[in-house]
Assembly symmetry: C2
Homo-oligomer: 84 residues x 2
């Protein structure tokens, strides 16, 4: 595996896993009032477009990273709807 692939995978792992602590924090505190609805919805639509982009480009790294990020952010949105 070359340097660029490792750099891309490291970047994808970090920007994807970043939403895990946000999800856990919201789950535990049962509060997401400081998290913006507009951010969540805009981000989810954007990630969905990245996922389509990855599917059309047949790029597994883009597909996987954005699929997981999409799931995490939909859970955060659901927690925000539930807890406010």
């Amino acid at each position: 595996m070359d340097f660029l692939t490792i750099l891309g995978l490291a970047a994808a792992t970090l920007t994807t896993s970043a939403f895990l602590p946000q999800m856990l924090k919201t789950w535990q505190s049962k509060s997401a009032k400081d998290v913006s609805y507009t951010m969540l919805i805009t981000f989810i639509i954007g990630i969905f477009l990245w996922l389509l982009y990855g599917i059309f480009r047949q790029d597994l790294a883009i597909i996987l990273a954005n699929f997981i990020t999409l799931i995490f952010n939909m859970i955060i949105l659901w927690l925000k709807i539930r807890y406010g």
Copy 2:
């Protein structure tokens, strides 16, 4: 411009601009206690790696999108440090 380029640009525009409403919300409410520090720091390091990836690949779309996202998230982190 082909369909895939337009799809990628639309995706990049949405995932970048998503952080603008979060920045404004935090600025106005002066509160970011529901925003996770671990998320912000992990995300910022990840976006920085994406920026390096774009620079090495000489991909202007990746460079621009991640540079702007990096600035927005560093401002959100600064607001979080300032307001808690």
